[in-house]
């Protein structure tokens, strides 16, 4: 059954029809969130927010849209909002020396996501990382990425190119080690 048909069922009152939508799109959303946030706990928070937000907003989904692209638009922005909240928390900590001293160093990921790809992604500016993951990770079209991020297609192409050039050597070296 297509995504659009499942959405129609949910809106018609068959609320259980949302579960297969979650199952169908959870893996790709989870991969993206985990790679862009670099932490499984943050990723889980964002994923829950994203699927809940999408559920509540389902009435605004239009069949001419691709559900996956619509969902990713929410996910991308939830990841950005999460990044902003985290940055604000970090700033507050920096103003509080005692808190800073007491703070545990943030683990990159308690579930062992410390591979070469994550190391390379972690070296990128967040905007470049986001563009690279959407393009090469999720295989989205630049037009879809532009609608999600608000950036122009040319800017996105530039971000992807810069990201690719930046981590290409690093990844190639790691694969030959």
């Amino acid at each position: 059954m297509s995504d659009a048909a499942l959405v129609a069922l949910v809106l018609a009152g068959d609320l259980g029809a949302y579960t297969p939508l979650v199952s169908r799109h959870y893996p790709s959303c989870a991969r993206y969130a985990r790679r862009v946030l670099g932490n499984s706990h943050d990723a889980e928070d964002v994923l829950q927010e994203t699927f809940l937000l999408a559920y509540r907003a389902l009435g605004r989904y239009r069949e001419q849209d691709r559900f996956r692209a619509w969902l990713f638009r929410i996910l991308v922005n939830q990841c950005r909002s999460h990044g902003r909240r985290r940055a604000r928390q970090a700033r507050r900590l920096l103003h509080d020396h005692e808190a800073r001293d007491a703070a545990e160093p943030r683990s990159p990921d308690e579930s062992g996501l410390d591979d070469a790809l994550q190391a390379a992604l972690g070296s990128l500016d967040p905007l470049l990382r986001e563009a690279l993951l959407l393009k090469y990770g999720e295989g989205l079209a630049y037009e879809e990425m532009a609608r999600m991020t608000g950036a122009s297609i040319s800017a996105l192409k530039m971000r992807v190119k810069r990201a690719r050039d930046s981590i290409r050597v690093r990844l190639e070296e790691s694969t030959h080690e």
Partner: protein, 195 residues
């Protein structure tokens, strides 16, 4: 030459995608927790957040002193945002999905004479450019929308013609974040004005 470059890029893309696909998923129970959370949520309606209901013309009871105070605040701050406190009584109850928290009707205005359509995006609507379209005012160069917002700090931006994001030229900028991009900020309710 260009073929060689494309081949190199293809190899990179393939390699990247292969590694990306191997990304371990979070805790296996996470998906079940999401489903459980969804089951506990209010069912969606065809109106989504029903923000459209807030765009309909309606009667508002307003104390004159509030009008004056709001006008002075607007001029002094040069802001585009009119905050209306809880003394404003709306003719209809707030949307069910937002009924559990006190909401404040906040009007957003933008002067964009050359835009053919304008939308409001923010952390309150999932940054969804389709969620909150703005309507053209009587003065044709002004776009406006009123939305219900909970008390607190909200980041937002405007989307012109479906693609170009701009910050509010007459509101404070949101603090810079790791993603950059045009973002303005509004503080609603008892938190008062400011960033």
């Amino acid at each position: 030459m260009s073929d060689g470059r494309e081949t190199t890029d293809d190899v990179f893309a393939e390699s990247f995608r292969r590694e990306y696909r191997r990304t371990p998923l979070p805790d296996p129970g996470a998906q079940a927790r999401i489903v459980a959370a969804v089951r506990g949520a209010a069912p969606p309606s065809r109106g989504g957040f029903r923000l459209a209901a807030w765009l309909e013309p309606r009667t508002i009871t307003l104390r004159p002193v509030v009008v004056v105070a709001a006008a002075v605040a607007l001029i002094a701050a040069g802001a585009l945002l009119a905050r209306i406190d809880s003394r404003w009584r709306l003719a209809a109850p707030p949307p069910p999905t937002m009924a559990s928290q006190p909401l404040h009707a906040v009007q957003f205005l933008l002067v964009a004479p050359h835009a053919s359509r304008v939308a409001l995006v923010g952390d309150f609507n999932g940054w969804d450019a389709a969620a909150t379209p703005m309507r053209r005012g009587a003065e044709r160069d002004t776009w406006m929308v009123t939305v219900p917002l909970a008390s607190g700090w909200h980041a937002y931006a405007f989307v012109l013609d479906g693609g170009r994001w701009i910050q509010d030229p007459r509101a404070p900028l949101a603090p810079p974040d790791e993603f950059g991009g045009p973002r303005s900020v509004v503080v609603v309710g008892e938190h008062g004005a400011g960033v």
